[in-house]
């Protein structure tokens, strides 16, 4: 204790010196930064060559900076709304998702940016992603080994589907509906239908939490759990509709519509037919 205390004690003499605070903050920053870089899933730099980042920046200046700022710092409108949010730290995965699904570049402001045709080639997307990743560390683009479920045996897959169903109902169905048919969000937003979305984008959506969606980082839902969800969504796609025509998979509202329009509609038609039928024949009888 003493041995340890002495140097510390000496140090503590300078504790209240003018530069000490600054030093501590710097040290702390360095430490956390280093730790983050060491442990964060995305080590931004390394394989992204400087050239790619540069190409990405060029593309960004042309296609994205209008809303996201020349350095991805975000742009505010005069009345304080966000034209485009800051992209520092959203990571390559977010860019790959947003541009890959055709959401970005957005065309006009609105409650939610709709999906369109992809506007960039895969190479360009990679460049944009590299550039945005260089702005600050964030989730990297997942690789096939992350999101692919092809390696599973039939049995593993079966288990994954069962687990995935439970995870899905707990975490996703509230917004995306029990069958992944989508649902409404406040103020004109919506959670889209997610049956039939590519596994990579499902993975990235969870990783980056676009718009109103929560962020399901790998610490929150592990890579395996994400694969379970992907397997489950895939199985919804593969399953036959056991009960017949599924009426859109949106629950009892469409059932009610069918009960009234088809059920009551046709039965009233039948009733009219039965009642009219004899009336007509009797009329003819009466006349003849």
């Amino acid at each position: 204790m003493r041995l340890l205390n002495r140097p510390l004690g000496r140090l503590s003499r300078y504790r209240r010196g003018p530069l000490a605070g600054l030093l501590v903050v710097l040290l702390g920053l360095l430490l956390t930064g280093g730790l983050y870089a060491a442990f964060s899933p995305a080590s931004a730099s390394e394989d992204n060559s400087a050239a790619q980042i540069k190409q990405g920046h060029q593309l960004f200046l042309v296609g994205c900076s209008f809303c996201h700022g020349n350095n991805g710092q975000g742009v505010k409108t005069l009345d304080g709304n966000q034209l485009g949010p800051a992209l520092v730290g959203v990571g390559a995965a977010a860019v790959d998702f947003q541009v890959g699904t055709g959401r970005m570049p957005a065309v006009k402001p609105g409650p939610q940016v709709p999906q369109k045709e992809q506007a960039y080639t895969p190479d360009e997307i990679a460049a944009l992603a590299a550039y945005v990743a260089s702005l600050g560390p964030g989730p990297a683009i997942p690789t096939a080994s992350d999101y692919s479920i092809d390696h599973m045996t039939d049995e593993q897959r079966q288990e994954a589907i069962v687990r995935g169903g439970a995870i899905f109902r707990t975490n996703c169905s509230a917004c995306h509906n029990f069958e992944g048919s989508g649902g409404a969000m406040p103020n004109g937003g919506f959670a889209p239908k997610i049956r039939g979305v590519e596994p990579k984008y499902i993975f990235e959506a969870m990783l980056t939490g676009p718009q109103a969606m929560d962020n399901f980082s790998n610490g929150n839902l592990s890579v395996e759990e994400k694969q379970d969800i992907i397997a489950y969504l895939q199985s919804l796609q593969d399953n036959p509709d056991y009960g017949g025509f599924g009426l859109g998979g949106i629950g009892p509202v469409s059932e009610g519509v069918f009960a009234w329009l088809l059920g009551i509609g046709s039965l009233v038609g039948v009733a009219t037919w039965i009642a009219a039928h004899t009336a007509r024949s009797s009329k003819q009888k009466a006349e003849s």
Binding site: A174, F178, S181, G183, G243, F245, G263, V270
Partner: protein, 583 residues
């Protein structure tokens, strides 16, 4: 209308006109008849006459749906396990194999996937439940709009309303039985509604659920309600409903030969029974087709109930839709007093408003009776246009219902039409107060306009579509008188009488008791009937006839479209002439 009744029975006397020597079956029947007196009863009822109109068969849809519910429901009971104890699913639906779930849910999966025909039966049961209640609604609307609830049928009106309420309750209980995610969510809302009762809410909820929600006793309890208690009540009330129907005899549309004292139609046997029987098979067929082709309540997709889960698109069956809509658009009002919360936000939409709306519709006939003071029996129906205020009231209520329905599906509207959830909510909050009065006003004026058109037809004949040009160049449309039968039908209604307060003081000059009520009555009477168009008087009719005869001296009495030759010399020409128009 001339049906040869001689084939059905040719005697009214006490002895039936049967074969002289009864065979074996006849002997048994005779034995039974001696003890039960059925023959006399049956003879009378088999020759009961039923009038014919499509709208008289709406109640039958409900009746036959109920029969289908009994049949399919009994099938389901053979495999359904009403228990909330938990086990791990090992059945053949692989997506849920290994998931812990209640026995109720597991047995529903079992019925769906492992029982032969089970899924078909489940789907038929559910579709017919939806049809059952929908049919009751349209049947009730027809009774309402035609004034069939008037004396002596008030009691049957009340029985019908009770049937409707019980049907909805039965449906909700059934919806909750499979213990899937949606039924659990529905029960959670029911729990909330109960808990919103001031002071005793929590106690009632604990009592019902046997502890904190969801507990483990509810499904067995609901099961008894669903398969025993409510069906028993429904059966008894349907029996009473039908008995009263036979006792009162069916109402009929006015027309030549149809009076308040008779019923014109077909006898129970063979015509009506054949029709009704045929209709049963039609209803069964439609239900079976829907059950076979259209998925309903795919519980395996919802997953077992887990209070920590919820899904977008959580909705009740349609008949609970208005309660859902009310809840969804209700502002978040709460009052806190002495550490208690009064949840207006749940109480008003859940406990007060639905019953208020329902009560208004059920109560209307009694209000009307009080206002008119009409104590006569009515066996002839009214056309909806001849009761403009009543018809308009129903139209407004239907509108209100529709709006609340839409509010209950606001998320589906939002995603399918790209509207904002918030805007829908704000719109609905205003619309449910503004739109029904507008609909009321428009419908009322519309009915009155139709009444006027009817009078015109009676007085001035119908529009032939024949345009005549007079020598001086003016154009006019020709009218032709309608037939006697149509004229009779159009005028076979009673005049509305407007109630007036005789005098608000009694002979001593003191304000008479009950004057206030009388004044309200007079006001309502004026509001309900003063604007109605009354049928033409005999003098008006005479005068119009005279006038018409004078103008075109035609007494053709056509009810079919005019051939176009009424006003030209076609009849004078050769038959070989090319006719102007085919008729």
């Amino acid at each position: 209308m001339s049906l040869d009744t001689s084939k059905i029975a040719d005697t009214n006397s006490g002895t039936a006109a049967t074969a002289k020597k009864p065979g074996k079956a006849g002997a048994v029947a005779g034995w039974a008849d001696d003890r039960l007196g059925l023959a006399t009863l049956m003879r009378k009822n088999l020759r009961k006459v039923f009038p014919d109109h499509w709208s008289f068969m709406l109640g039958e849809i409900a009746l036959w749906s109920f029969v289908i519910l009994l049949l399919t429901g009994t099938f389901l009971t053979l495999w359904f396990t009403p228990s909330m104890s938990e086990s791990v699913y090992e059945g053949s639906y692989s997506q849920l194999r290994g998931v812990p779930m209640s026995d109720a849910y597991a047995s529903t999966l079992h019925i769906s996937f492992d029982v032969r025909g089970g899924l078909l039966m489940r789907q038929m049961h559910h579709w017919s439940a939806n049809l059952f209640i929908a049919a009751m609604f349209v049947h009730m609307m027809r009774t309402f709009l035609t004034g069939a609830f008037r004396k002596p049928r008030e009691l049957n009106w009340v029985i019908g309303a009770t049937l409707l309420l019980l049907g909805i309750l039965e449906g909700f209980a059934g919806y909750s039985l499979p213990d899937d995610l949606l039924s659990g969510t529905g029960l959670r809302i029911a729990d909330g509604l109960i808990k919103a009762t001031p002071v005793v809410g929590s106690y009632m909820s604990f009592f019902l659920f046997g502890g904190e929600f969801p507990g483990d006793v509810l499904i067995p309890r609901l099961y008894i309600l669903h398969v025993l208690l409510i069906p028993g009540l429904l059966l008894a009330l349907i029996g009473a409903h039908m008995l009263l129907l036979v006792f009162h005899k069916h109402t009929q549309w006015p027309g030549p030969g149809r009076t308040e004292q008779n019923v014109v139609g077909y006898p129970m046997l063979p015509v009506y029974a054949a029709k009704a029987g045929g209709f049963f098979f039609m209803v069964f067929g439609v239900t079976a087709l829907m059950g076979a082709l259209l998925s309903i309540n795919p519980v395996w997709k919802y997953g077992p109930y887990d209070p920590s889960q919820v899904t977008a698109g959580s909705q009740p069956d349609w008949y609970m839709g208005i309660a859902e809509g009310l809840l969804r658009i209700m502002p978040n009002w709460e009052t806190h007093i002495w550490g208690h919360t009064i949840s207006w936000n749940v109480m008003i939409p859940g406990q007060i408003a639905p019953f208020l709306l329902f009560g208004m519709v059920i109560g209307w006939p009694f209000l009307e009776q009080w206002v008119t003071g009409d104590r006569r029996e009515h066996h002839l129906l009214q056309r909806p246009r001849n009761a403009p205020t009543r018809t308009a009231f129903m139209a407004a209520m239907v509108t209100e219902y529709g709006l609340l329905w839409a509010a209950g599906g606001n998320d589906i509207l939002a995603t399918h039409f790209h509207w904002s959830l918030n805007s829908i909510t704000y719109f609905m909050r205003t619309a449910i107060f503004v739109v029904p009065p507008i609909v009321f006003y428009v419908t009322r004026r519309w009915c009155i306009g139709l009444q006027r058109a009817d009078n015109n037809r009676v007085l001035h004949g119908y529009e032939t579509g024949i345009i005549m040009r007079s020598p001086d160049g003016g154009y006019s449309e020709r009218h032709l008188p309608i037939g006697e039968a149509s004229a009779y039908t159009l005028t076979a209604r009673q005049r509305d009488e407007i109630h007036e307060v005789d005098s608000d003081v009694d002979e001593n000059g003191v304000v008479a008791p009950g004057t206030r009520a009388e004044r309200i009555r007079a006001k309502l009477s004026k509001g309900m009937f003063a604007d109605n168009v009354q049928k033409p008087t005999a003098e008006e009719l005479e005068e119009a006839r005279h006038h018409a005869e004078h103008t075109h001296e035609l007494e053709s009495g056509l009810d079919h479209p005019a051939s176009g030759h009424e006003f030209d010399d076609h009849a004078l020409r050769d038959a070989d002439d090319v006719p102007l128009r085919q008729h």
